[in-house]
Amino acid sequence: MATATTPEALRRAARLERIWKEPGGLVGWITTTDHKRIGILYLFTSLAFFALGGVEALLIRTQLLHPESTLVGPGTFNQALTMHGVTMIFFFIIPMTTGAFGNYLLPLMIGARDMAFPRLNALSYWLFLGSGIFIYSGVFAGHAPNAGWFNYVPLASRVYSPGPGIDFYCLGLIFNGISSTVASINFIVTIFKLRAPGMSLNRMPLFAFAFLAVSFALLFALPSLTLDCVFLELQRRLGFQFFDPAHGGTVFLWQHLFWFFGHPEVYIIILPAFGIATSIIPTFTKRRMVAFPLVAMAEIAVAFIGFGVWAHHMFSAGLPAITTVYFAAASMMVVIPSAIQIFAWLTTFASGRPKFTTPLLWIVGFITYFIIGGLSGIMFAAIPFDQQTTDTYFVVAHFHFIIFGAAVFPLLGGLYYWFPKVTGKLYDERLGKLSFWATFIGTGLTFFPMHIVGLLGMPRRVYTYPKDVDWQSYNLIESIGSYLIAAGLLMVLANLVRSYLKGAPSGNDPWGGATLEWSTTSPPPDYNYPVIPKVSSAYPMWDLDDRVADTGKLERGELVLEEGHLTPATTVFDANWDEVLDMPSESIWPFLTGAAMFLLFFMLLGGHLFAVWVTIALVLLTLVGWHRTEPQES
């Protein structure tokens, strides 16, 4: 740790603090360009959407508690079903993993002082918030999208869905997609250019590899969803004929474009969880990750191969056999990198000295449910099996084990793990473990019976089921399980809130972590690192010589870069130091651009062309204002 102990060192640290400090209060938060503050904004906003999505889930499970229940009608159920999927995927998990965890931790992990494009980072948050408010304004106005999260035509066409719900869906997802695209570009350039000098690829934390894979996947997958939504809006609003067979179109076009996005999307959901798991495991097993290069490669390979499997979501749609084999073969291959990672994690456990703290328990839960969900997933690669189980609850079981059991558990573990770093306090370990067990058992109870009831023939997306098919007992267990999950999650929330208010101080490094963020104070100072850290391995905190050397440098003023708002930039592959970059300070423009885009999407919804052009001009004006201030001037 480069701790400031001598007067000279303290003077340097104080100078850095003055340069990097942002104003407080509301103004500070609206104009922030600090990746840590933006991460916090993302955290709270995505947690709010998690709650909304959770309420939608509880509504679904309560309606399905009894056969022939009349708690909610089919119309409301379909809206709840659709919004549960849309909210959880686009407004909870992606922003939470990339926006909250990624933004806060990535610069810290690579030894940088901020992301490559700080103002763009702020914009991605405002666009996220705007898109969430946009789509939920439709929900609260009684026009929630209701054709499922995958929104198939012809159900989603004007003929069968005349109201504005689907327009909220299409425009909302295009809007949300811009936020994620911009964020992905920022992540990739940050990882490419802002690593601490000397951090060659084999010394880069696995967390960064996971986020590199996620960002590339988002960049190449989102255009497909955007295009699909553009086609659908053109068809719905202007009468274009992409999807109507009577005029030369085809419904399959929607499906292909949707799943070309949709399948990489699920790898986008799981990859950050891999990154978090590979950060937590070495810390609590006190052992370097087994087969580091294989794990790094596997993270990227999963994202890459995941682009070639999309039509496995269409195996029962009527495609010719010679087309489907492409996707069946690729689907079988995509499992192998995940399996490599599982073996690496388990071996690291077995050959280390595991200490089962709350974060590590969440990771054990993650591995358990990832194996179960993965096994049911690989079964779908066999086309005959897939054709029997498509659109049954068997599929619902599979993806919830993966999305909830395998993607969300590391998030919860990560919240506990990094809580001391972000807040400077320790959480309550006993309540932590209890919250894990409640959620773990609840998850098993909720989703495991779905395998069985699916094989017994219960279809997906049904708002009720008859009394005489004997599905009731399974649904009862599932619904009880969902209430237990809710209780577990509330325990997590209660633990973190109470600990934030009254927890014991944590110090810089309560766990003995391996990556650079553990070298800063808790919470980190605005400037992250007083000295740009020296990196000799992928576990820099375990290289004590380097950390001692950093303290010496602070004293002598080497690599402190205290002349301004500065961070180093390096070459892409080998992280050789190339230049020193001025970073922009706080700015109101990202917020204004976000607000203008928000207006634009409402104008697009309304459909008055003149209003659309005016708001486009407004957006462009905000961009002009933004770029009038160059980074070194701010």
Binding site: G198, S200, L201, N202, R203, F292, P293, L294, A296, M297, A298, I300, A301, F304, I305, G308, G318, L319, P320, A321, I322, T323, T324, V325, Y326, A328, A329, A330, M332, M333, I336, P337, I340, I383, P384, Q387, S536, S537, A538, F573, D574, A575, N576
Partner: protein, 115 residues
């Protein structure tokens, strides 16, 4: 080193994209008019993609043998080459298997039967 890392994936992507396109064309409305020689296309894709993937695999093996005794924490460029050569080995193997599975299956099935 770059052939070892990218050769096989490029082979797979290209054969996947072209092969999928040809299979769709063959079985859709327009394809029936054109008389596409599906088996010829599939065999060509199989041969070309396998050749490129094998090239990727062999060059991965060559690179790996040169760097396998490098310390895994080594600085650039040795550390980076070590990491990427191992990646190349695994990725090339995976892609090769995918290519073989896909195109032999497509050749064995009756075109345009929906199952």
């Amino acid at each position: 080193m770059w052939v070892s890392l990218f050769g096989a994936p490029i082979a797979w992507v290209a054969s996947h994209a072209v092969g999928w396109g040809v299979s769709e064309a063959r079985c859709e409305v327009a394809g029936r008019q054109w008389g596409i020689a599906f088996d010829t296309w599939e065999t060509a894709l199989l041969v070309l993609a396998t050749a490129l993937a094998l090239a990727g695999l062999i060059s991965s093996m060559v690179v790996y043998r040169k760097v396998k005794d490098v310390d895994k924490d080594a600085g650039p460029p040795e550390g980076r080459v070590w990491l990427l050569s191992i990646s190349g080995l695994v990725v090339s193997t995976l892609m090769l298997v995918a290519i073989l599975l896909t195109h032999t299956a497509a050749l064995s099935l009756t075109p345009c039967s929906t199952i």
